[in-house]
């Protein structure tokens, strides 16, 4: 049996030379955080509306009674933009520390910021700065949840913050980017 070359064994076992795994780990993390932000942002432009259409027979013709059925349908558009569910927004409005001259503009840009951050991460645009911005956004959201006593939500955002921190720690392994930073 042929004995392996010691140099070959060393190159396989040495973590110092295995950068592809770290790159893949970061790529997965970057992708997840990007999708999380992008889709969450897009959803802020969605709404469920009731759409009316004729009740159809098996052959596709309208029912003889002329019956119209109302079906819930999900649609997207700028006119449907909402930063937060109305009930949550009302709770924030009742908090004296959340000043309306601050929350108002924040609500206005939240969906757009999430979309921009998500796209930037996925495309590899200014990755490090994007991750920092994302961390700041999640921290800001955490403030509101602490004030209204949503401890579950705070923990949930804490996981996001942890992932962002991990990504910043691994950002040196960033690959497949448009910008280098």
């Amino acid at each position: 049996m042929k004995t392996p070359d010691p140099a070959t064994i060393s190159s396989i076992q040495s973590p110092a030379t295995d950068t592809s795994g770290m790159s893949l780990a970061f790529l997965v993390l970057r992708g997840w955080l990007g999708i999380r932000a992008l889709v969450t942002g897009i959803e802020k432009f969605s709404a469920k509306i009731m759409v009316q259409q004729p009740l159809l027979n098996a052959d596709g013709t309208p029912d003889a009674s002329g019956a119209i059925v109302e079906i819930e349908s999900k649609v997207y558009g700028f006119t449907h933009y909402h930063a937060l569910p109305a009930s949550l927004q009302q709770k924030f409005a009742d908090e004296p520390l959340l000043l309306s001259w601050l929350t108002g503009p924040f609500y206005t840009i939240l969906g757009y910021v999430l979309v921009a951050l998500g796209l930037a991460l996925l495309l590899g645009l200014f990755t490090r700065a994007t991750l920092v911005g994302m961390g700041i956004l999640y921290m800001v959201l955490t403030v509101g949840l602490i004030l209204i006593g949503q401890d579950g939500g705070v923990a949930y955002l804490g996981i996001h913050i942890g992932l962002v921190a991990m990504a910043l720690a691994l950002v040196q392994h960033n690959r497949f980017t448009i910008t280098r930073s």
Partner: protein
């Protein structure tokens, strides 16, 4: 002068024949009728109305009169104004207060009309009417309807057909004699929500299994008698001429036996009609209780509880109905059909409508996919069939899973029934509640009063439903 008693003669027809019989076909206007009669003979035309005539009507604007401009007349007026191709040309009411309102309202909505206080004068002068809507007090329905039918008009008459069985019967006879259309205002019969519930959910999908029971109710809070502006009080001779004892009787006729049928008739008739329609048969027996227990100075029962028994193709089914005029509690107004596999709770108000699946029934996903049913928040929140979380007694059945009815009526609730009437005149539809069909349904409502008076179950034979 037209009087509240106008009997007519016609061959007997059984209720089964009535339910199966085709509606008299659409004919033509009085003027067309007279012109055609001169050429072809009225008898031939009444017996076999030509397709050409019906087709000729299909492009004609229908000219109609409204007789009675009280609360219900105004509801009909508003619904008709939303239907293209219909033109009001005359209104009739003995009360100037109503008459002025109707005349001004219609003019404002682009329908200048001639106003009459006397129906005979109106029918004598308005020679080119196609149809009339009758929304006068119940005891005038028969004479007004018969006068219009005999004048060659198709008639849409509000329910109840009459305050007496004989009055209703005379309307059916006149309808058959004249060959004109007579639609009775049980408007749920044209409501697509009800049609889909019956035709799709019950008959096609058989979601309820065997329907063994039904219940319905219309509970309404205490209300005061209607008043009137003193300057508009009708003179005693006018009241007497039209059969009223007093202005109070004129305004509150629904509570007095010689004018109307009381709450069971005013409210219950719509829902008891749904029992007959959905079961496909009128009641074979009635057990009822009721009384004048709250209001003073009225004649009709202010509360009634009834059990109707039906011989359906699947077996006997019983329906409980109650009308209360002293409380609005109990969940509004609805008609609920309960079967071995499911229940449909119907109401004109969609908020009171639900469909429930028994835990042991087959899954209903396919009917959701076909849009016969809608998933609701209540559907999602339903516990598992074997869940004991909400039970306090081991013998309890699991909570039923609730679905919605996705069909919507995006029109005034009377509009589809009126459209069906007008389309039938054009020969494009069959009446959804012709006079003879309504008679079968309303007969049992009249007999409910007899059951209350007799304080025992009364039985109705198929012959009783014949006209």
């Amino acid at each position: 002068m037209i009087s509240p008693e106008s009997p007519a003669e016609s061959p007997d027809v059984s209720p089964a024949e009535v339910l199966a019989a085709p509606t008299p076909p659409a004919l033509c206007t009085r003027r067309q009728f007279l012109q055609t009669t001169a050429v072809a003979g009225a008898a031939l035309m009444l017996a076999k109305p030509g397709r050409a005539l019906a087709n000729a009507m299909s492009s004609t604007e229908l000219r109609i009169a409204l007789i009675g401009i009280g609360a219900q007349g105004r509801v009909l007026m508003d619904a008709v104004l939303k239907i293209p191709g219909i033109r009001f040309v005359a209104v009739c009411d003995i009360w100037s207060y109503n008459l002025q309102y109707g005349e001004k309202y219609l003019k404002k909505n682009g329908h200048p009309v001639k106003a009459y206080t006397d129906i005979e004068e109106m029918l004598g002068k308005e020679k080119d009417l196609h149809a009339a809507l009758v929304a006068t007090p119940d005891f005038w329905h028969a004479p007004h309807t018969i006068a219009c039918l005999r004048a060659g008009l198709h008639v849409y008459c509000e329910k109840m057909m009459s305050h007496t069985i004989e009055g209703a019967r005379s309307m059916v006879k006149a309808m058959r004699e004249t060959g004109k259309l007579l639609q009775i205002g049980h408007q749920r019969r044209s409501n697509p929500r009800y049609i889909v519930a019956l035709e799709r959910l019950i008959k096609e999908a058989k979601l309820l299994g065997q329907i063994t029971a039904a219940n319905g109710q219309w509970n309404r809070a205490v209300s005061k008698d209607l008043g009137w502006p003193p300057k508009y009080a009708l003179p005693a001779d006018v009241l007497s001429k039209y059969g009223y004892e007093s202005m109070n009787h004129f305004r509150n006729w629904r509570w007095f036996k010689k004018y109307g049928g009381g709450p069971l008739s005013d409210l219950g008739a719509h829902q008891i009609d749904i029992f007959t329609w959905f079961f496909g048969a009128p009641p074979k027996s009635i057990l009822a209780g009721g009384g004048m227990d709250y209001y003073k100075g009225h004649e009709w029962f202010d509360n009634v509880m009834v059990i109707y028994e039906y011989a359906t193709p699947e077996g006997t089914a019983r329906a409980f109905y109650q009308v209360q005029t002293t409380t609005s509690a109990g969940g509004g107004y609805f008609e609920q059909f309960m079967g071995t596999e499911g229940t449909i709770k119907m109401s004109e108000n969609p908020n009171y409508t639900s469909i429930f699946r028994e835990a042991n029934a087959p899954e209903w996903e396919q009917w959701v996919a076909k849009r016969y049913l809608a998933l609701t928040k209540a559907t999602a929140a339903a516990p598992e069939a074997d869940s004991t979380a909400t039970k306090v007694d081991a013998r309890e059945t699991a909570e039923l899973v609730s679905y919605g009815l996705p069909v919507v009526l995006n029109k005034a609730i009377h509009q589809p029934h009126l459209e069906n009437f007008f389309n039938s005149i054009h020969g494009k539809a069959k009446l959804n509640c012709s006079g003879d069909e309504a008679f079968v349904s309303e007969y049992a409502i009249h007999r409910t009063g007899d059951a209350i008076d007799a304080k025992q179950m009364i039985h109705i034979t198929p012959d009783d439903y014949k006209v």
